[in-house]
Amino acid sequence: MKSIAELDEIRKKTLDQLSIRSNEKGIKVVVAMATCGIAAGARPVMKAFIEEINKRNLNNVTVSITGCIGVCKMEPVVEILDKDGKKVTYVNMTPEKAERVVLEHIVNGNVCTDLTIGAQEGV
């Protein structure tokens, strides 16, 4: 038998998993996964995001995929949209970088400036 407190715990936990189905605005991780992205290794990057977010029990973060956004030479490209729709574009991503972005950007709110498209353009 469950107590009311336990029921509340279930409510909170399940709602996190279902946040994807509600219209509430949260942080969105969008991985570009067209042919170019997949070829450059976008899938392991996306999996790393999902794993990290799972590991840290983060609420209100969704991971989704999109098509080619046009900068194929910098794939894998990942965009992070915050609650207000402000966008940061990370390029040349790897699973290791993904871990860093989750920790620094999503958890602590500090953009990893050195990984963004602006910083990487000349690389």
């Binding site: 038998m1 469950k2 107590s3 009311i4 029921l7 279930i10 409510r11 936990k13 399940t14 709602l15 996190d16 998993q17 279902l18 994807i20 189905r21 219209n23 969105k28 570009a32 996964m33 067209a34 042919t35 996306m46 999996k47 999902i50 977010i53 799972n54 029990n57 973060v61 969704t62 991971v63 989704s64 995929i65 999109t66 098509g67």
Partner: protein, 597 residues
């Protein structure tokens, strides 16, 4: 916790299941696995979305992209394009399929954004077989609040203030019903749920049970607390196998969680719930017959009073509410009576679910605030009449109700306005008829139903409805005589006044309301021996227009009765004594030379 980057919701209501949604789910599962996506994408089985005409329905989140009329062969494209590459499959989207606008998600479709879903709040949103998903969307929170913060009197007071009226048809104030039962002293009281939905064309309760069974369980437990009952029964027809299965699963899960049992959530409240299966007799939807059937006897009504609230199941005080009524209860407790009574009209509060059927584009399930006009329901949400035909009437309330003609399309729908029009709200079946429907034939259809379903206990219903049906049969066969219409009216009046239960008392309604609005059609049948809509076959004749006939002989070739004769350069002739009135000649004639009338 497991995060998935996408949820694929597949409708597993009865409508979509019958068009293969379970196979779609299997195919989806197999393809996700073979593409290595099964750890990223979750498949969720849901209840009815309501847009049954466009089923099977698949919705993909986070985009909220709603795919309609999905076939098993489309699954590959959805997986490979949308789920693997993030490209929405536009050709399968709801609404304008060619549209470039990919925001055609659930909320973007007219069918949904004009609705207000309270009773159907979770249908198509949660997995009905997972209690956690119900709990997540504030499920069982109303029960918690009631058990920890409210007194039974306060619950009843809240129900009274909300203005909720019975959604099963009668429209009796729910709070008042609970109050009567609460005031009785007895060693045992019962809470019953009427899920014996029997009106032809109605599937509201079925969809709630299939899509959100926990909401009914929660509400019944609240009702038990309010009136002091510890045992509940859900009477559901055995013809609803999916509903029965999910309901039983939900009850088992609720018992496991301690939500049903002798000490609900550790609060000391006791409430147990069992399912009772009905064998599909229409009369068992009548409250006294239903309770007799639960007791294990033959389902026959008994006179009232005493009302069930005083002497019901096994002679004990009992409340009996309909599925949709219960589905509203948790929301009223959570959001307050004031919020609920702010929706709807002066005397009819809240929303009503309608099952749209008949000659309408968006066959399905809709929930709208009381006071919405019939025109909005039929045209704006229902998508209008197929093939641009003209609206003739809508039948509400099934065999107990009546029809609403085109002249009253703009009447706001609520309990009282429908009664004033000679129809009734009923449980929510809404059958749309167009110019091709014969109203005498419609009345005959409903009478056939009530004659079939009459339990036979009282003579007015057993004999009276049979006599009315015989007259209607005569009229539709072109053998009507002067005085038949008046005899129908007399019988109707007497049956209404003398039948024992609601089934008999309302059985004449379809005749009375079609007579009220379409008397001319009856008269055309009786006096001119003509069926204006061309439905009643025995009065119909197919004729060849000699001026248009080019003697091609196609009609003679397709005629299954071989009753069309002719030769070159001579117009063909139909021998009506052998004609089976199948209409195939008219359909195939390339020169439109054949007409019926």
């Amino acid at each position: 916790m497991q995060l998935y980057r996408a949820h694929v919701l597949v409708c597993a209501g009865t409508g979509c299941t019958s068009s293969n949604s379970l196979k779609i789910m299997d195919e989806m599962e197999a393809l996700l696995a073979s593409n290595g996506l099964d750890s990223e994408v979750k498949i969720v089985k849901t209840g009815c979305f309501g847009l049954c005409a466009e089923g099977p329905i698949v919705v993909v989140y986070p985009e909220g992209a709603m795919y309609t009329r999905v076939e098993v062969s489309d699954v590959k494209e959805i997986v490979e394009e949308h789920l693997l590459k993030g490209r929405i499959v536009k050709r399968l989207l709801a609404g304008e399929k060619e549209s470039e606008d990919i925001s055609k998600s659930l909320e973007g479709v007219d069918f949904f954004n004009r609705q207000m879903r309270i009773a159907l709040r979770n249908c198509g949103r949660i997995n009905p077989e997972d209690i956690n998903e119900y709990i997540a969307f504030d499920g069982y929170k109303a029960l918690e609040n009631v058990l920890t913060e409210m007194t039974p009197e306060a619950v009843i007071d809240e129900m009274k203030k909300s203005g909720l009226r019975g959604r099963g048809g009668g429209g009796f104030p729910t709070g008042m019903k609970w109050d009567f039962a609460a005031k009785q002293t007895a060693d045992q009281k019962y809470v019953c749920c009427n899920a014996d939905e029997g009106d032809p064309g109605a599937f509201m309760d079925r969809s709630v049970l299939e899509g959100d069974p926990h909401s009914v369980i929660e509400a019944m437990s609240i009702a038990g607390f309010a009136i002091g009952a510890t045992q509940g029964y859900i009477y559901v027809r055995a013809e609803y196998p999916i509903a029965v299965k999910r309901l039983q699963l939900a009850i088992d899960q609720a018992i496991e969680y301690g939500i049903l049992g002798d000490n609900v959530l550790g609060t000391g409240h006791k409430f147990n719930l069992e399912i009772r299966l009905g064998a599909g007799a229409f009369v068992c939807g009548e409250e006294t017959a239903l309770m007799t059937s639960i007791e294990g006897h033959r389902g026959e009504p008994r006179p009232r009073p005493p009302f069930p609230a005083v002497k019901g199941l096994w002679g004990k005080p009992t409340i009996l509410n309909n599925v949709e009524t219960y589905a509203n209860v948790p929301v009223i407790i959570l959001k307050g009576a004031e919020w609920f009574s702010g929706i709807g009209t002066e005397k009819s509060k809240g929303t009503k679910v309608f099952a749209l059927g008949g000659k309408i584009n968006n066959t399905g399930l809709v929930e709208v605030p009381m006071g919405t006009t019939l025109r909005e329901v039929v045209y704006d949400i229902g998508g209008g009449i197929p093939k641009g035909k003209k609206f003739k009437a809508a039948q509400t309330g099934g065999p107990s109700g009546g029809c609403i003609p085109a002249s009253h399309l703009d009447t706001p729908i609520d309990y009282d306005s429908l009664i004033a029009l000679g129809s009734m709200m009923g449980s929510g079946g809404l059958i749309v008829m167009d110019e091709d429907n014969c109203m005498v034939d419609i009345a005959k259809f409903f009478l056939e139903f009530t004659v079939d379903e009459s339990c036979g206990k009282c003579p007015p219903c057993r004999i009276g409805t049979k006599r009315m049906l015989e007259i209607l049969e005569r009229i539709t066969e072109g053998k009507g005589a002067a005085g038949d219409i008046e005899m129908l009216e007399l019988l109707a009046k007497n049956i209404k006044a003398s039948a024992l239960c609601g089934l008999g008392q309302t059985a004449p309604n379809p005749i009375l309301s079609t007579l009220r609005y379409f008397r001319d059609e009856y008269e055309a049948h009786v006096f001119d021996k003509k069926c204006p809509a061309g439905v009643c076959k025995s009065m119909m004749k197919y004729t060849v227009d000699e001026t248009k006939c080019k003697s091609c002989g196609i009609c003679a070739k397709v005629c299954p009765m071989s009753c069309i004769k002719g030769e070159k350069k001579v117009p063909y002739v139909i021998d009506n004594s052998k004609c089976a009135k199948c209409g195939v000649c008219m359909e195939k004639c390339p020169f439109k030379a054949i007409s019926k009338g």
